[in-house]
């Protein structure tokens, strides 16, 4: 028999909570009543302030998903960075927030999608990196699989083609991490390679061992923050 077994609300969740407290201390983690893991991260003021300079009517939602592979496979993590619109900017720090919706096992995907789609619908503009061909169709397929309505952003901007046009000629490639280093001047340490992510998630579901899932969560946060900075660079 399989010795390593994770019980709902038992050791596995404790391990995850402990790990998060240690490696992502600023984040708050809770198990939502709908049955999925919800992480809320504080957002640095530079991002939020940068946004204040923009003249957009409403809030911006940066979206990045992590999945078990190519389109059609289940997804297990949706990260959403919400930057408030100018109207909300009046001294309300709470409005800039990064939320991660985590399926703690395969069965929680539907709850994750449901929560993200209902909260994300409030934002008129979604921003992604390669979302036109990946994240949005992915979300749409999984939503249809769970018989939920498709994601309906008022407007969607995919930064990949914009970045390509702007910097494609002078950069070796236009991957997000290349842009983040060369354009945003950010650098990340100990990131998990993208190809490793599906296996790492399977291992987490099997063992409840939180190390790698925390790496994935951090990877997702980094991606979103870089996306936010990239947006500023493109807007300038």
């Amino acid at each position: 028999m399989c010795g390593e077994r994770r019980e709902r609300g038992g050791l596995g969740d404790d391990l995850l909570a402990q790990g998060l407290a240690r490696f992502l201390p600023q984040a708050t983690y809770e198990v939502s009543p709908e049955g999925y893991g919800r992480l809320v991260h504080p957002v640095g003021s530079s991002l939020a302030a940068g946004q204040a300079a923009q003249s957009l009517p409403g809030a911006l939602l940066f979206v990045d998903i992590e999945s078990l592979g190519f389109i059609g496979r289940p997804l297990f993590l949706i990260g959403a960075l919400r930057l408030p619109g100018p109207a909300e900017q009046t001294g309300n720090e709470e409005a800039a927030v990064l939320v991660q919706y985590l399926a703690r096992d395969y069965s929680e995907e539907e709850a994750v999608l449901r929560a993200f789609l209902s909260e994300g619908a409030a934002c008129p503009l979604w921003v992604t990196f390669n979302g036109q061909t990946f994240d949005l169709p992915f979300l749409a397929l999984r939503a249809s699989y769970h018989r939920l309505g498709p994601p309906r952003p008022g407007r969607h901007i995919d930064l990949l083609p914009l970045a390509r046009r702007r910097w494609g000629a002078r950069l070796p490639d236009c991957r997000l991490q290349t842009l983040e280093t060369h354009i945003c001047g950010r650098r990340r340490w100990g990131d998990i390679p993208g190809a490793r992510i599906p296996d790492a998630y399977h291992a987490f579901v099997r063992t409840g061992e939180p190390d790698e899932i925390i790496q994935i969560l951090r990877h997702n946060v980094e991606d979103l923050i870089s996306l936010g900075f990239l947006w500023q660079h493109l807007e300038c």
Binding site: M1, C2, L68, G69, I71, G72, D105, Y106, S107, L141, R142, S144, Y145, A195, R196, P198, D199, H202, V205, R206
Partner: protein, 916 residues
């Protein structure tokens, strides 16, 4: 509108006449322009038999003639007429009324029942599914239908038939239809996913390409009304058991998307079509078997080449007989199809016949073609069309034309050699047959035991019912692969046990322990990064294909196939060959025959899977010779059984093509030999074996008989008997006699599937029951000295590559088998009725093929226990380890430990039907 059939695939919407000349309904009386001279065409078909009798005069070749009487059409009426668009399309095809089986199928489907149609060749079976599918589409334009065919070629043919119907419709019958398979260009794939109302594909593509990606097919599955399974008699044994699980997965996906499609199946004549349809789908079926199509009188003639020497019973070559008959029929203006059993024979016979016709003059030689697997799709299409339009006066084909590709109905069907099963024989003979005129089928015997037996006892063939098709979808070894694939597609729930059977929970438990699935809140989720459908091949044969490139010709057009690595071959691609045949026919210095031309093989590249050849004009062709042997890799279990030793464990069944002969055309004299240096092809599987004690062998020798001949007889029967107890097809197990592993002549029984499927393992455990059944069967057979129904017939391994089929040998010794069986079962010693016959040397290690003729074992009896037997569980776990070990994390999915990195079994063993 996309009108470029790049690889023969098409999406068509409301297209207009392209082939106005050939509006037709398959199997209906029709008018056609014919290429043959008008005078010939006016000949009465009554002359056919007379003509044959004339040919036979003086040499007693015509040994039996059976008349199958003519039959009038039986019409059927529909309770409600068909929609106007549909009836106009039928009128355009010259169809005003439906045959009773067509009407019955439409009514049956209207009443929401699943049905299986079993009627003769060219009886208009196609309309039985086309009408319901199109009626549903007209009533509900978003409705979809999935049409499954066992081969790509058949799907192409059926697409053409659908489009012809579409063109003929007066109202708009603008459905989108297309074939979706390995040949479909990527740009068409997306379009078919999004728009197709009717999708034509094969079970392999459904299994590995469509079901795992069902999310992209949500539209298609949610509207799915009909699933059509054509030619289901092909789905038997391992292939059938796999297809049955694919169909269960399909039903599960449909349920997820809220649809519950009706199944319409068709089958050639087999003993149990309804049972097969029900086992394949897990649903109740209604059988429609009353054939309403009219049929002219048919003569079925058995033809034996003349005896050349009464002492050796040497007979004339069946190929030379076939050549003479074919040439004479063609000359008389009878359109003739000739079926041969090997690809090379098709080429040799074409060459012989063309030469013969050229001697006579008249230009008929140019209207003769060969047809077989390995021709490029365009070439095959062209031959089919030319045959259909009557431009060809004859075609020489392998069984590639046996399935329902519509080439029209011909006058004469020549079968060179018994095709191996009764069902196949009728199927091939059915290619000749017109609705009102006489037709003729001639079975020309090889000088082999089984063919000669049929010549002596024609009633054996004419009175015997066709074969049963046996499948076992719940075989745990097969189920394991499909449960992984199913879990990948959708989490499994307890509800699915109804689909996958009682073993499912036990197997899921094993998968969970291996970390492959994970049970969460009563559902089982697939929990690794694998693509499990890629680990299961539905057919027990490798699907690797070699390209044949004429390096002396300029490269072909844009559609030329690329090499394995993606590079363009240097030269013109003239054909393809499956891996099994590549070693035997494309070895360096070999002569490869294509369309009657000779090509010299310069180089065979095993990595790129390509053979470079150049055209030559030589007086000889080559024939390869192979040796096969069985190696015991490990003796896992060893026990005595009464006086004998028995064992079980992993085996390597290997075959090596080691030399070739040069043979002069026509005279067949040998011009020399050459060595072949190619890797050994090995099937690693599991098997069991029984070694009789020396005393048993001595008992046989005492009666002046050869023990090994008896062992062969027992091995043959054992292979038949096991199918009754292990729910497998005769194609799925091999049996042989070899002495190298044990030091003593030993009977082996093994699974013809890499890793094994548990058949031989079952045999090991019940050897007493099996041997008693073997003894019973041989004893009770009324034959005198052995027949295909009891001790069967061995076929020498090298003979499978022999185009002239000068096979020798005889039926194994029934008396020797009985002496051995009585000794093994510790019965009273058996005393043979006659003295021993002379021994004609024969290798112990030949691989045999079997005459079919099995019975069905009641399925219920097998399914009464729930937990997996411990030894099956052990093997399942071991096979699962093999599966997961050979998969480096994430990267390359298929990397077997086989030479050349080939995951499938080594060769399609003898008797495997050629895939079109």
């Amino acid at each position: 509108m996309d009108r470029t059939p790049a690889q023969g695939s098409r999406v068509d919407r409301g297209s207009k006449p392209r082939r106005a000349a050939s509006r037709r309904g398959k199997g209906r009386g029709r008018k056609r322009g014919r290429g043959a001279p008008a005078a010939d065409r006016n000949r009465s078909k009554r002359d056919l038999l007379t003509h044959l009798e004339d040919l036979a005069r003086g040499q007693q070749s015509l040994v039996h003639a059976e008349e199958i009487p003519a039959r009038d059409a039986v019409w059927g009426e529909l309770r409600h007429p068909l929609p106007a668009a549909l009836s106009s399309a039928l009128s355009a095809a010259g169809i005003e009324r439906l045959y009773c089986h067509q009407a019955a199928a439409v009514e049956c489907v209207r009443q929401n029942e699943h049905c299986v149609v079993v009627t003769g060749t060219a009886s208009g079976k196609t309309l039985c599914y086309q009408l319901p599918v199109l009626e549903a589409w007209l009533a509900e334009p978003q409705a979809t239908a999935l049409l499954l065919f066992p081969t790509k070629a058949l799907a192409q043919d059926q697409l053409r038939s659908l489009l012809t119907l579409q063109e003929g419709a007066s109202d708009d019958l603008g459905f989108v239809a297309g074939t979706y398979d390995g040949d479909t260009p990527p740009r068409l794939r997306g379009r078919l996913r999004d728009e197709a109302a009717i999708l034509l594909t094969n079970p392999d593509m459904l299994h590995s390409g469509i079901l795992p990606n069902h999310a992209r097919w949500a539209r298609f599955f949610s509207q799915l009304r009909y699933v059509v399974c054509d030619e289901i008699h092909v789905y038997r044994g391992i292939f059938g058991s796999n297809v049955a699980n694919v169909l269960r997965r399909l039903r599960r996906i449909c349920r997820r998307y809220g649809s519950e499609p009706r199944f319409v199946a068709s089958s050639a004549t087999i003993a149990n079509p309804r049972e097969l349809a029900e086992e394949l789908t897990g649903l109740p079926f209604r059988l429609i078997a009353e054939d309403g199509a009219p049929r002219g009188r048919k003569h079925f003639v058995l033809w034996n080449p003349p005896v050349l020497s009464t002492t050796t019973m040497d007979r004339g070559s069946s190929n030379i007989e076939a050549r003479d008959l074919l040439a004479s029929f063609v000359r008389e203006g009878f359109q003739t199809i000739t079926f041969v059993r090997a690809r090379q024979v098709a080429e040799v016979l074409l060459r012989y016949s063309q030469e013969k016709l050229r001697e006579d003059g008249g230009g008929a030689a140019g209207r003769l073609r060969s047809y077989r697997g390995g021709y490029l799709p365009e070439e095959r299409r062209e031959i089919e069309q030319a045959l259909f339009r009557g431009e060809l006066s004859g075609v020489i084909s392998t069984n590639a034309l046996e399935l329902g590709i519509d080439v029209g109905s011909l006058d004469v069907s020549l079968l060179v050699g018994y095709p191996g099963t009764i069902a196949s024989t009728w199927q091939q003979a059915g290619r000749a047959g017109r609705t009102s005129e006489d037709s003729l089928a001639v079975l020309i015997a090889h000088n082999t035991p089984i063919d000669q037996y049929l010549m002596r006892y024609p009633e054996y063939f004419f009175r015997q019912s066709p074969e049963h098709a046996v499948i076992d979808p719940q075989n745990p070894h097969i189920l394991l692969g499909h449960l992984r694939a199913a879990a990948y597609e959708l989490p499994l729930t307890p509800h699915d046990e109804g689909l996958f059977g009682e073993y499912a929970p036990a197997i899921l438990q094993i998968l969970q322990e291996a970390g492959e699935v994970r049970g969460i809140k009563g559902r089982w989720y697939f929990s690794t990064n694998a693509y499990p459908a890629a680990d299961v091949s539905l057919r027990n044969a490798s699907d690797n294909v070699y390209l044949i490139v004429d390096a002396s010709a300029p490269p072909g057009g844009a559609n030329a196939p690329a090499l394995r690595g993606g590079a363009t071959p240097r030269g013109r691609v003239i054909g393809t060959l499956d891996e099994a045949s590549a070693y035997a026919q494309l070895h360096p210095q070999g002569i490869y025959l294509h369309e009657g031309l000779s090509y010299f093989v310069d180089h065979l590249d095993l990595n790129e899977r390509v053979a470079y050849v150049h055209p030559v004009n030589l007086e000889y062709y080559t024939q390869s010779i192979s040796d096969s042997r069985i190696r015991i890799l490990e003796t896992e279990q060893e026990r005595t059984w009464r006086v004998a030793e028995r064992g079980f464990g992993p085996l390597a069944v290997s075959e090596k093509v080691y030399m070739f002969k040069k043979i002069r055309f026509e005279t067949r004299e040998s011009l020399g030999f050459g060595p072949i240096d190619l890797p050994v092809e090995t099937l690693e599987t599991e098997g069991c074996w029984v070694t009789p004690p020396p005393a048993a062998m001595a008992a046989v020798t005492r009666h002046g008989r050869v023990p090994v001949e008896g062992l062969w007889g027992i091995a043959n029967v054992l292979g038949d008997v096991i199918t009754l107890h292990a729910m497998c097809d005769v194609m799925d197990v091999g049996s042989s006699v070899d002495s190298r592993g044990t030091g003593m002549p030993t009977i082996f029984l093994y699974d013809r599937y890499p890793g094994g499927l548990g058949f031989a393992q079952k045999a090991f455990g019940m050897i007493e029951v099996l041997m008693a059944a073997v003894c019973e069967l041989v004893t009770s057979c009324p034959c005198e000295a052995g027949c295909p129904s009891c001790v069967g017939a061995p076929v020498l391994a090298q003979m499978s590559n022999d185009p002239d089929s000068s096979r020798r040998g005889h039926i194994p010794d029934k008396e020797a088998a009985l002496i051995l069986l009585h000794h093994l079962l510790e019965k009273e010693p058996y005393v043979p009725k006659k003295a021993g016959r002379t021994w004609e040397g024969r290798g112990w290690n030949a691989v045999r093929s079997r005459a079919d003729g099995e019975e069905v074992f009641p399925a219920e009896a097998w399914r009464t226990f729930k937990p997996l037997p411990p030894e099956i569980e052990k093997r399942l776990r071991r096979n699962l380890n093999r599966l997961t070990e050979r998969r480096p994390a994430g990267a390359e999915r298929r990397n077997s430990g086989y030479p050349g990195g080939r995951p499938g079994p080594a060769r399609p063993w003898h008797g495997q039907s050629e895939r079109a």
